[in-house]
């Protein structure tokens, strides 16, 4: 076993060195111009895609030799069990993989931890995203092994095993906030991958081995098959909608315009109507790609949202919480002064310390810190700290507003101070704040649970109005009309709340509600959304439908399953029934036997068409020939005919046979004499 381990190390060292060198070069190049949050960015820039590539590469090169059956025989025909050979292989491969990926990250981490390099206090948790991605490389490693050696009947199915690893990447970047949970998910995926790879290795790509490895093989193929189905759906969506896309815009006067974008002959074209559908002459033939037309419509730059009202997992996008984000460590404040004013230092909000810290960008030494009362030069600290955790860190850092539940500040970091502009009352805390507008017309909007407060930039209250829509079920975006500086507030119902509605409210300078518009759900583009939702139902597994609420899928794939629930459910169940029926037919054709056919039917009822793909991938498709006795079809490769029970006929004789019993070979006495 050690022999195999050292040989594998020696053979694959060059690939590991290649990965190590490539990653190191990339990282070092980026460390020359470091941003404070560089370590999180390195994870996103590199380890997110470098680790999968390295994993698959190493998995493939380790099994490429064994793709030829004689080479596989050479590796396997040894006085060592195949399990130990495989374990030695994996030990060497994973060691090389993890070393090659971890060392450059450690270099970055060590560099960042030395004072004066990074410009912000180094925290160990900054390494976590990179480490999670590196660990995930192992999932791709096993996927690479499976896809190299597995005998895929159709060429396209060879890449399917990568689906599980991709699913794990997707989960840990988008949906899982805790590091330990990410690690757990990764280890589960790797266990499945390792079992599948072991099964494929031990049987040289066939599938006649233990049930647990076949189960793992099925599990590793399933996400890929499902992803292909979804991908095909996405592709078909373009066809169904014919490249058309509808969305709302608001013009300079606050009127809603429905823009329909089409693609004809590779060129984009637009048509414009009002929400009722009447065409708008003044926009006819306008080319929205032309930069001169950029200011035709209002851009809604400000967002007011209470993340607690957004259901998981979409709330992660607003809170920026989790180990992949600096929160609750540090957050860079990118805004912080009037536009056009350059900050001569880096500003970081230090969440545990409740302070804004300023760093010299050149020497990367901390200059001092800003508290509510003002600036204290290093090494002293302000007496008073900020109260609580800043809200909406996903959007706040770009604005001049720093909002807490009890108080909202306007940042004047060039003056090294913050200005309180709003203090909340005890029973009506703030949930979001934003600045809109330009120049003298700029306004600060503070959203509390009961009211919307509109303030001038120096904190003087302009007006405050109660919410027209309940902030617990809506999120808002805001803009200022350039023509008359009225305030526009658009309210969207949160995901998960039906029916989805969009409303727009226009307020004048003194707070009067001037206009209220309903922006109806955009027409289904000739019921294409209905068709799309039904098409989705055809490939979607019933099991997932039971677990996953429809609105998440609606949000992710731009469908209308909530709206067309009946049609969707109908197609879903018909598809499941067809899958089960197909399974039964395939089971009969392939001679599965009663329990196996029943089991797979139930499974495919729940797993959908992707489950059919898995079943065909994991089981052999036996050929058939005519039985010599009863002349009905029988399975080759089985001894007895299932109909008449006749055993396979022995090989026919044609008179040429020369057979001698084996014990005719006996040592002659004379032979022994001559020795």
């Amino acid at each position: 076993m050690i022999g195999i381990f050292t040989r594998e190390l020696r053979e694959n060292l060059k690939w590991a060195l290649l990965v190590f060198a490539a990653l190191l070069v990339m990282i070092v190049r980026d460390l020359r111009e470091p941003e404070p949050m560089i370590l999180f960015q390195l994870a996103q820039h590199y380890t997110l895609w470098m680790a999968p590539i390295a994993g698959i590469l190493l998995g493939v090169v380790q099994l490429v030799f064994e793709t030829r059956p004689d080479n596989w025989s050479f590796v396997v025909h040894r006085p060592v069990s195949r399990g130990r050979i495989f374990a030695a292989k994996c030990a060497a491969g994973l060691l090389l993989l993890y070393a090659a990926l971890t060392l450059p990250c450690l270099v970055a981490g060590i560099w960042a931890s030395r004072p004066g390099n990074l410009g912000v206090p180094y925290q160990g948790r900054m390494m976590l995203p990179m480490l999670a991605d590196v660990l995930n490389a192992g999932s791709y490693y096993f996927a690479g092994m499976v896809l190299t050696l597995r005998r895929a009947r159709w060429f396209g199915t060879r890449l399917l095993p990568a689906g599980l690893a991709l699913a794990s990447s997707f989960l840990i970047t988008m949906f899982i906030a805790q590091f330990w949970l990410s690690v757990l998910v990764i280890l589960c995926v790797q266990l499945i991958g390792a079992l599948a790879a072991w099964g494929v290795f031990a049987s040289n790509g066939a599938s006649d081995d233990s049930w647990i490895t076949r189960l793992a093989l099925g599990a590793i193929i399933y996400p890929g098959a499902l992803a292909v189905g979804i991908g095909l759906l996405g592709f078909s969506q373009a066809f169904i909608s014919g490249g058309r896309w509808q969305y709302y815009q608001v013009d300079r006067h606050g009127d809603a315009v429905v823009v329909t974008q089409t693609i004809e002959h590779g060129e984009r074209g637009w048509s414009f109507t009002d929400p009722a559908g009447n065409p708008l002459r003044q926009y006819e033939g306008m080319d929205l790609d032309d930069p001169a037309n950029r200011d035709q419509f209002v851009s809604f730059n400000g967002h007011l949202v209470d993340p607690r009202s957004i259901p998981w997992p979409l709330d992660l996008m607003y809170t920026n919480a989790g180990y992949r984000f600096p929160n609750p460590g540090l957050e860079a404040l990118r805004g912080g002064a009037l536009p056009g004013v350059r900050l001569r230092f880096l500003a970081i909000y230090d969440i545990p310390q409740h302070l804004i810290e300023l760093f010299d960008p050149v020497s990367r030494v901390q200059i001092g810190a800003i508290g509510p009362d003002g600036f204290s030069p290093a090494p002293t600290l302000p007496d008073r700290r900020f109260d609580g955790i800043p809200l909406n860190l996903s959007v706040q850092p770009r604005s001049r507003v720093l909002a807490f539940e009890s108080i909202v500040y306007r940042l004047e970091l060039d003056q090294r101070r913050v200005l309180p502009v709003f203090v909340a009352v005890a029973d009506d805390p703030v949930f979001s704040a934003v600045e809109v507008g330009q120049g003298t017309n700029a306004k600060i909007l503070v959203a509390t649970h009961a009211r919307l407060h509109v303030l001038s930039v120096d904190g003087q209250s302009s007006y405050s109005v109660p919410w027209e829509q309940d902030p617990n079920s809506c999120n808002f975006d805001v803009a200022q009309l350039p023509s008359n500086h009225h305030l526009l507030v658009r309210a969207f119902t949160n995901p998960g709340i039906a029916p989805p509605r969009t409303r727009m409210f226009e307020y004048s300078a003194d707070g009067a509600l001037v206009r209220r518009s309903d922006l109806p759900r955009l027409g289904s583009l000739g019921s294409s959304k209905k068709v799309e939702s039904m098409a989705f139902g055809a490939i979607f597994p019933v099991a997932a439908r039971m677990i996953c609420p429809a609105w998440i899928l609606d949000d992710l794939f731009d469908l209308r399953m909530e709206e067309f629930q009946m049609s969707f459910a109908l197609v879903l169940w018909i598809s499941a029934a067809l899958c089960a029926t197909a399974t039964v037919l395939i089971g009969i054709r392939c001679g599965f036997g009663l329990w196996k056919t029943l089991g797979w039917s139930v499974l495919n009822l729940l797993l959908g068409p992707a489950g059919l793909v898995v079943m065909l991938g994991v089981n052999d498709w036996p050929s058939r020939e005519k039985c010599a006795h009863c002349h009905r079809m029988r399975f080759v490769g089985r001894r007895d005919c299932p109909r008449c029970g006749a055993a396979l006929a022995p090989a026919p004789r044609d008179g040429r046979e020369i057979f001698e019993p084996a014990d005719a070979f006996s040592s002659d006495e004379a032979l022994q004499a001559v020795g």
Partner: protein
Amino acid sequence: MPFEIAISTGSAVPIYRQIVDQICRGIAAGKLTAGEQAPSVRALAEDLVLNPNTVARAYADLIRDGVLEAQKGKGVFVAKRRPIYTKAERSRRLEASLDAYVNEGIKLGFTAEELHEALERKLAQFQTNRE
């Protein structure tokens, strides 16, 4: 040893038979003298690149016919000429090979005088090789 055995594959004659024939002829031609040690089975097999069983079979035939004899512990030696065939058997064997010789000659179109001449020549050759 000066006596070389050369076997050829692709012949209609089995290999062990070729060995037997060559050893017999070698003895008859005087290249192998009585009492001389023959190579061991293994040595000959490795020399000629043959299955040792083939060599062993040839030797077994030769021992059975009395051409070679095995001395326990010492090896295989060329046997002293012992008449092991009956007179009738010897005559029968001579007749058989005469048949072959004459038939072949006639088929090739040689006259009886020419055949006589060839026979005389061959016997003379044998004599000189012995000396």
